[in-house]
Amino acid sequence: MKLILITRNPLQRLRKVLRIMRLTCLLILITTMVSFASTGTYAQTTELSLNAGTKTLKDIFSEIEEKSEFIFFYNDNAVDLSARAEVSNKSASITEILDEVLKNSPAKYKIIDRQIIFYRDKEPLPNSQQQKKSEIKGRVVDGKTGDVIIGASVILKGTTIGTTTDIDGNYTLNYPGGRHTVVASYLGYAPKEISVAGAQILDFTLVEDAIQLEEAVVVGYGSQRKVSVIGAITTVDVDNLKLPTGKISNSLAGRLAGVVAVQRSGEPGTSSNFWVRGISTFGENKNPLILVDGVERSLDLLDPEDIESFSILKDATATAVYGVRGANGVILINTRRGKEGKPDINVKIQSGILAPTKLPKLANSATWANMYNIARTSHGYAPAYTEDEIEKYRTQSDPYLYPSVDWLGELMKNYTTNQRVNLNVTGGGKVARYYVSGAFYNENGLFIKDSSHEWNSEINYKRFNFVSNVDVNLHRTTVLKLNVNGVLEMKHQPFEELSTIFNQAVSVSPNTVPLYYPDLDEFGKRHYAESTGGNIPNPYNTLTQRGYNDNWWTKINAIMALEQDFSELITPGLKAIVKFSYDSNSWNQILREGSPHTWYAKNRDENGNLIYEENSLGSNTLDYKSYANGERALYLEGNLTYNHTFNDVHNVGGLLLYNQREYQVAASTSIGALPYRTQGLAGRLTYSYNDRYFIEGNFGYNGSENFARGHRFGFFPAAAVGWVLSNEKFIQGKVKNLDMLKLKVSLGQSGNDQIGGGRRFVYLPTINSANGTNWGTSNTAIGGIAVGEYANNNVSWETSTKLNIGIETQWFNSFRLQIDYFREKRDGIFVQRKSVPDYVGVTTMPWSNVGEMKNHGIDATLEFDKQIGDVYLSTRGTFTFARNKQINDDQPDYIDKYRNRNGQRYGQQFGLMALGLFESQEEIDNSPTQYGVSYLKPGDIKYKDINGDGVVDTNDEVPIGYSDIPEIVYGLGFSVAYKGFDLSLFFQGVANTTFFLGGAYFPFNYPNIGQTSFLADLEGKYFDPAKQNFDAELPLLYSDGWHGSNYVNSTWWQRSGAFLRLKQAEVGYTLPKNITNKLLLKTVRFFITGENLLTFAPDVKLWDPETGSQDGRGYPLMKTLNFGLNINF
C-alpha cells in the first residue's frame, strides 16, 4: 500500500507527488500550530462551491484541492477515481460534498484537519479500536530536532498494509501477525526499517536525507529544482561558512569544490584571494562576479548569519546569462527572507581569543653578532664584534648600551580577543513576512600601545550589520520585496601600516637600540631611542609614537522588487519581476601623525649615567589630515519567467531579462570618476521530458562602455544536456541501492569585459605630455605632447569557451558523489602588445585582445551520512584541481626557448638548477662563471649552465616547481552528533604550489646592517668555513651588499607550499527538549569553535605556510578559540 496524493495528474511520479505533499504538510503544520488552540476544524468552517456537472472523482478532488486547503490521501484501491459523480451547483461544507459524490462509491473517508483520507469500507479504519489486540503503535520523530513528523507513512514491507502519522506524529498499524519489516518514510528523510515479530510499540526516528531532489537550487537569475540542474553549480550549507572570525571569503577554501582560495595575511579585516576553478586568464580581472540578492556587491560585506544560500556557478550554461561578465565564474548569495509563522528568534553570542598561528623566532644579539662575525670572517674581513661585546650581549649586563631586543616579542601581545553578537528574527503572516537582523563584531589587534600617551594607537576593528528583508503581498498574485542592508565598519590603528610595523619588528637587528631609555627628560617624557642618523627605524617608535589612523566605511544597500504572477491573468506559470537597487558606500579616514623626540646613547659617564645624543626633535602635537572617498551603484532589472508542465511530462521553462548598472567612484582622475556602465539582456530556455532528459539553452547579450559602438555587445550562448539514468525504467528498481544517477554535459561561452590595464574607453586615444624641445637664442622651452595610448576600435572582451562533463550519483541513501571535469579556453585576453615590431615605432605599446590561455581540471564533492542508533555521522569532502597553461601573452620567444613563459602555467616559477655547494676553489675555477661574480668561495651555491655558454646567468633559468597559487585545494569535514552533543572537524589543504625562500634567509645583506635580523632557527644551518660542512642546509653567509650569485631564485631556495590544516573544530551541546521547553525556548546550544588550530606543512616549519611568505616576516594568520551560545525561541 502506498499513499498517493490525488492531483489533476494522478500518474505523476512519486517524488513529485511527495514534494507537494511535503509542502502541504508543512502548511498544515504551520497552520495547525498557529491555530491550534483556537477553533474547531477547518472542515467545519469552510464552505466550498464546485462547478456543477458530471465529472470523474479525480476531477472533483482536484477542484476541491485547488479551491481549498484540503489534501486527499487514499489507500490503494480505496477509491475508483475514474468513477463519475454528479455535482450540484451550491455552496456546501466538505462533508456535504463528499457524502454527495461518494454516495455510489464503496469508499469511506476520514477528515483529519485538512487531510482527507479514503479507505475501503471492508477494511478496518486505520486506527480503529477493533483491532486493538494485534496492532503496532508508535511515533515518528525527527532525529535531529526531536519534532514529531506528521503525515509520515508507515507500512509493512511487502504488503499493502500501511498508514500515516497524525498531527501528534502517532500511528497505529493493523498487524496481521508473523515476522515483518516495518518501514517508516517521509519526504526529505531517509526511510527506516525495523523488524518486528509481534505487536508492540515501535517508535521511529528519521534522519534528514541530505540530498533533497526536489530542493530548489539557486541558479543565474532564478532557481531550479535540483534534479533539473545540469550546469556545474556548487552549493554549500551556509552553516559551514560561519567561522567566528574574519570574513566569509576566508572560509571558502576546501568547503566548495571548484574554489581555489588562499588567505595571505591575518591583519584584522583582511579577506582571502579566491578564484573559481583556478585562474583562467592572465588578464586584469581574474575574480568571479559576486551577486548578493542579484546585485553586484562585495562578498565580505555580509554577516554569515544573514545568508540563506551560497552558490557558485562554474560552467558555461550556468554563467552564460551573465554574458560579458561571467567568464571567471559567478557567486550567488541570497540573504534570508521571512517565513510565515510566529516570530522565530535566534540569538548567537560568541567571544574568543586570537593568537598568531606561528611566528618566526628571532635571534638575540649574542647569536646575531656571532653569525655576523662568521659572515665577515668567511670573506676575510675582521670580526665586527669582540668576544667581550658578545658576552655583554649574552649577559645583558648593560641592556641600554648593549641591547638585545626581541622586537616581535616586545611589540606583540600573546593573544587578543574578539566578540560577536547576532540577533535575528523571522516571521510573518499572510500579508507580510519579515527577516530582520542585527550583528556586531569586535576584534582587537595584537600590537601594544604606549600608555603614557593620551591617545591610543591600539588596533581595533568593529563592524555593525543591519538587515531588514520584508515581503508584502500587495495582492494574491503580487509581492513587493524590500531589502535594506546597512554596514558600518570601523578600524582604528597605528599611523603606520600594520605590515610596515610588522616588517620592521621582524627585520631590525636586536642590538640596534633598546626599546627606550630609562631616563626621563626635563618635561618628564621618556628618552625614545633611535640610532644615530635615524636610518634604522626603531620599531617601537614606529608602532607607538607615530600617531594613529581612524577609518570607517559606511555601506547602505537597498533593493526593491515587485513580483507579479500572471498565472491567472495570462497563462499559468508566467511571472514578472522588476527590481531596482542602489548601493552607496563611503570611506573616511582621519590621520593623526606624530613623531617622537629621539635620543641615542653611546656611552656612560664616569658616574655610570648614559650620555645622550639628541637625534630628532620630533613634534609635540599630532598633525591632522583627513581623506574621504565614496562610490555608488544603481541597478535596474526586469525579467519574465515561465515555467509549466504540459501533459504531465513536458516541463518547459523560460527566462528573459534586461538589466543595466551604473557605478561611479569619486576617483582622483576625471576619467576614473566617469560612471562605469553595463547593460544587457539574458535568456534561458529549459525543457525536460519526464524528469529523465533535460536540455537547456542560455544566452547573455550584454555590453560594456569600454568598447566602441558596434563592438560593445556580445552574444554568449551556452547549451547543456542531462540524463537522469536512475529515472529510466531499465534502471529504476533494478540496480540495488542506487537512488540517483545523473550525467550532464555543457558547452558554451561567456566573457570578461574588465580589461584593466588602467584603460577605459579603449576606442579613444589618449594624449600625454611628452618631452619637448628648447628653441631660440634665449633657449625657450616648449613642452611636448604625443599620442599616449593608441585608439583601438576593435578592442573587445575576453571570450571564454567552457566544456563541463559531470556525474552526480547517490547510493544507499547516504553516499553522494558529484564529479565535474572541465576544460576552458580563454581567447582575446587584453594584453599590452609585446610583439609589435620596433620599426613600427610605437612609444606606448597598444593593448589588444590577443592573449590566450587554457585551463582544465576536476572538482568533486563526496558526502556520506549515516545514522547508527543515536549516533548521527556525516562526512563531506571536496577536491579541486585546476591546471592552467598560458598559450600566448604576445611575448616573442626567448633565444633559449625553455625560458618561454608561453606554454607554462600562469605564474610558473623560474630559477636556476642548483647542483650543491662548491667544495673547493679548484671546483670553482673549473666551473662556468656565475653572473661574472669574481669572489666565489667554497660554500657558495653551484648552478647548472643549462645553455652551455660557460656563464651561469638569467639565460639558464628554467621552469621549476609550480606557481604560488595552488593547483590543488581540498577539504574534508566530519561531524558526529549523539543525543545533545555534536562535534565537527574540518581539515583543509593545498598542494602543487611552491615559493622561494628569501629575505631573512639572506641576512646581513643590506648596506645598512641594522636592517637585518636573523632567524633563531637558522643558527648553525649555514655553511661555516670553520666546520667545512658542505652538507649544510644553507650556503655561505655574506656580510655586505647584495650577493648576486647565491641569492637568486633556484631549486636551492624553492620549497613546497603544500599544507594541511585543521581549519575548524567545533564542539557543541544542545540542551534537551524538556529543559528547553520549560524555559519557553526552542533550542539552546553551547559551543566552542577553534580555527586554524593545527597545521601540517612538510616544507614550511617556521611560519604559517598559507601566507606564502618567503621568510615568515609577513603578518601572520590567526588561530582562534571561541566560546558561544546560540538561543532560539
Binding site: S670, I671, Q679, L681, F713, N774, G783, A786, V840, T843
Partner: protein, 607 residues
C-alpha cells in the same frame, strides 16, 4: 527592444579628455606636438656619460669616449662597446627603438598638421618641413649606426597588427635619405628666426647629406667583403658588392654645393675666421668656434641650455680649486695626433709593442722639462708661462685649445696655477674620483667660466655640424678622386684658422702622393674635430678602428706612489685599459629584442 537599437546608455559621458583631433585644431598644441617630434633628433652633445633610456628618447651619445680619442672616468655604460662584452642581447645603446619612434611621431604630425586651420600657409609649410627633416634624420642616424635599415618613410604602420618587414639595401637607404634631404632642404629656411634658432635649416639638411655620401663612398660601405654575404630571406644582398669610385664624386659634389652656396652668400654660413691673424695663429679663433654662440660656422647647432654645466664642470679637475669631476679624459693617442707648431706630425705611427714612431725632423721630444708659454685664450691673450714636460712643448695651437695636461694651465683664466692630474689631484689628497689618462678635455671650457662656485654665465651652442667638416669632406673626396690640388685651398682655410701653415708648405709632396695625402687628411680630421663625435664614424668608414680602437690604450701614469714622486713616475706612457674592437663592431648590433619581434629582420654580420 528599442533600447538596443541605440547603445547610447554606454556612450562615454562628455568631459574634457583631449583627443588627437583636438590637438591639431589649435596652433599651440600643434606646436607642442612638433616640439616632441623634434626632440627625437639625437642629442649629440649628451656625451659626458650615457643618459638612461627610460622613455627611449633622451638617449646618450657615446661616440667620443667610445673611440680612440677619449675615455670617460664616470658612468661608463658605453664601456661594453670596447671591452668585448657587447652583444645583441644586451646592446650598449639601443638606438633602434627611439629612432623608429621619432619616425612614427613625425609621421603622425605630418598626417595631421594640415588640419590645423590656425596655421598660416608659410608656417604650415615650415612645420611640415621640420617634421619631414626629423623623419629623414631618424632614418639617417639609423643608417649611420646599423647600415641597411627598414625604410618606413612616411608610412604609419598599423599598430594593431603584426606586420613583419625586411631591411632595405644600403643603396636604397642612402638614395632615399640623400634625395629626401635635398628635397626637404628646399622647404627649410636659410636661417631660423632668433626665437626658433636651433631648429633645422637648409644648410643642416645639405650637410648631413654630404656626410652620408662621404660615408657611403668610403671603404666600409663601398664593396666591403665582410658584408658580402649579408642578405634577406628572399636573397636580396643588402650591401654593395663592388667598389664604385664614382661615389667619391657624388660626395665631392654634395660638399661643393654647400661651399658654393655659402661662398656666394646664398647661405649665411662660412668658416669662422678672425680678421686678426694673431687670433687665428694662437688658436683663439678656433676656441671661439666652441665658445661663441650661434657663430657662423655652426650649420647645425643647439643651445645646450642648462646642460652646459657638463661642458664646464665634467672635465674640470677635481679638488677644492675646481670642484670638477675630472671625468672627460683624453687618450695619449689623441695627444700624439696633434702636430708641432711647425706643422709636422711628431708621431707617425706605433711599433707593434706600442712604442711611438717619432719623426725626428719635427722637433718633438719626450725627455725632460722646459719653461715655455702657452695661450690661455682669455681676452687679454696673456698666455701662461710655466715649466712642463717637453712632450707638450711647441705643439700646434689646437692642442692647447683642446687638451689639459699635467702641470699645464686650466683654460679658466681665474686660475693661473698649474693643474695636477693624478691620483692625488691638485690638493694632494687621494681621491677615487680622478682622471684615468692624465689629460682632460678643455676644448669646450669657456675662458671666462668659473667652476668653483659653478655659475651658469656662458651659454654654449653645441657644434652638431660645422662648416669646416664640409670643407674637409670635400678635400677628402677630392684626394680619393686624385684631385688633391683642387682642394688645397679649402684644406688650408681650415688649417690657417687653426694657426697652422699651408699643408703643402709642410709636406710638399701632398698633391702627388695620395697615400701621404690620405694620412694627412685623416690626421687633420682627427685633430680638427677632436671630441666632436666625428672620429668614431671616420675611423669606422676608413675601416681602421680594428687597429686604432683595439688593444692597449695609453695615458700617463696617474697612479703615482706619492705626490713628491710625480716628476719621477708620472711621465711614462701607461696603458689604462685594453680595448677590443672586432670587425662586427663597425655596425651596431640590432637589439635581439627587436629581432625576435620581426623574424624577417636579419642581424648585422658577426653579432
Amino acid at each position: 527592444m528599442s533600447f538596443f537599437s541605440c547603445d547610447s546608455y554606454l556612450d562615454k559621458q562628455p568631459d574634457d579628455m583631449q583627443t588627437l583631433e583636438g590637438v591639431f585644431e589649435k596652433r599651440s598644441s600643434t606646436e607642442q606636438y612638433l616640439a616632441n617630434v623634434l626632440n627625437y633628433l639625437p642629442h649629440q652633445w649628451d656625451n659626458v656619460c650615457a643618459v638612461e633610456l627610460a622613455d627611449g628618447t633622451d638617449f646618450g651619445w657615446p661616440f667620443t669616449p667610445a673611440s680612440d680619442e677619449a675615455e670617460w672616468g664616470a658612468v661608463r655604460t658605453y664601456a661594453i662597446m670596447q671591452n668585448g662584452s657587447h652583444s645583441a642581447a644586451s646592446p650598449a645603446m639601443d638606438f633602434w627603438k627611439p629612432l623608429y619612434r621619432g619616425i612614427r611621431e613625425s609621421n603622425i604630425f605630418l598626417q595631421n598638421v594640415s588640419r590645423c586651420t590656425e596655421l598660416k600657409n608659410d608656417e604650415l609649410k615650415l612645420w611640415t618641413a621640420e617634421a619631414r627633416y626629423t623623419n629623414i634624420m631618424c632614418h639617417y642616424w639609423l643608417t649611420m649606426l646599423y647600415g641597411p635599415i627598414i625604410l618606413v618613410k612616411n608610412e604609419l604602420v598599423d599598430v594593431n597588427g603584426t606586420i613583419y618587414r625586411q631591411r632595405n639595401t644600403w643603396e636604397e637607404c642612402v638614395e632615399w635619405i640623400t634625395e629626401s634631404l635635398k628635397d626637404v632642404a628646399n622647404d627649410l629656411p636659410k636661417k631660423q628666426e632668433d626665437i626658433y634658432a636651433g631648429k633645422p635649416t637648409k644648410a643642416a639638411a645639405l650637410a648631413y647629406r654630404s656626410r652620408l655620401l662621404l660615408y657611403s663612398a668610403s671603404k666600409l660601405m663601398n664593396g666591403n667583403p665582410f658584408f658580402a654575404s649579408v642578405k634577406n630571406e628572399d636573397g636580396t644582398l643588402l650591401f654593395p658588392q663592388n667598389n664604385d669610385p664614382n661615389k667619391w664624386k657624388l660626395a665631392a659634389d654634395a660638399a661643393k654645393e654647400i661651399i658654393d652656396l655659402c661662398e656666394s652668400g646664398q647661405l649665411p654660413y662660412g668658416l669662422l675666421v678672425s680678421e686678426s691673424d694673431e687670433e687665428n695663429k694662437k688658436g683663439i679663433t678656433y676656441k671661439k668656434v666652441f665658445t661663441e654662440n650661434w657663430n657662423k660656422e655652426l650649420l647645425d647647432t643647439k643651445d645646450l641650455g642648462d646642460d652646459v654645466y657638463i661642458l664646464d664642470l665634467a672635465p674640470a679637475p677635481n679638488g677644492e680649486r675646481f670642484k670638477g669631476h675630472a671625468t672627460n679624459c683624453v687618450t695619449q693617442q689623441q695627444v700624439d695626433a696633434y702636430a708641432m707648431s711647425n706643422g709636422k706630425y711628431p708621431i707617425t705611427g706605433y711599433t707593434s709593442s706600442g712604442r711611438p714612431v717619432i719623426d725626428a725632423t719635427s722637433g718633438y721630444s719626450e725627455e725632460g722639462f722646459s719653461t715655455f708659454t702657452v695661450p690661455t685664450f682669455d681676452t687679454s691673450n696673456g698666455g701662461y708661462t710655466g715649466e712642463a714636460f717637453n712632450m707638450y712643448k711647441d705643439r700646434e695651437p689646437r692642442f692647447y685649445a683642446s687638451v689639459g695636461y699635467n702641470e699645464g694651465v686650466w683654460t679658466n683664466t681665474s686660475t693661473t696655477e698649474p693643474i695636477y692630474l693624478n691620483k692625488y689631484g691638485t690638493e694632494g689628497a687621494s681621491s677615487s674620483d680622478y682622471n684615468r689618462t692624465g689629460y682632460l678635455i678643455t676644448k669646450y671650457t669657456h675662458p671666462s667660466s668659473t667652476t668653483n662656485p659653478y655659475a651658469l654665465q656662458w651659454r654654449r651652442c653645441w657644434p652638431n655640424f660645422r662648416y669646416a667638416e664640409v670643407l674637409l669632406n670635400y678635400v677628402e673626396a677630392k684626394i680619393e678622386l686624385g684631385e688633391t690640388a683642387e682642394a688645397l685651398k679649402y684644406w688650408n682655410q681650415v688649417r690657417n684658422r687653426g694657426g697652422m701653415p699651408n699643408i703643402e708648405s709642410v709636406y710638399p709632396t701632398v698633391t702627388s702622393d695620395i697615400e701621404l695625402a690620405t694620412f694627412l687628411i685623416r690626421r687633420e680630421r682627427q685633430v680638427e674635430f677632436a671630441f666632436e663625435n666625428v672620429r668614431w664614424f671616420d675611423a669606422n668608414r676608413w675601416k681602421i678602428s680594428t687597429e686604432t680602437n683595439h688593444g692597449k690604450v695609453y695615458g700617463m701614469n696617474v697612479n703615482i706612489s706619492s705626490l713628491s714622486a710625480m716628476r719621477d713616475e708620472y711621465y711614462v706612457r701607461t696603458a689604462f685599459e685594453t680595448r677590443i674592437f672586432k670587425e662586427a663592431q663597425y655596425l651596431q648590433p640590432i637589439p635581439q629584442s627587436s629581432i625576435v619581434k620581426n623574424p624577417k629582420l636579419i642581424q648585422n654580420p658577426g653579432w
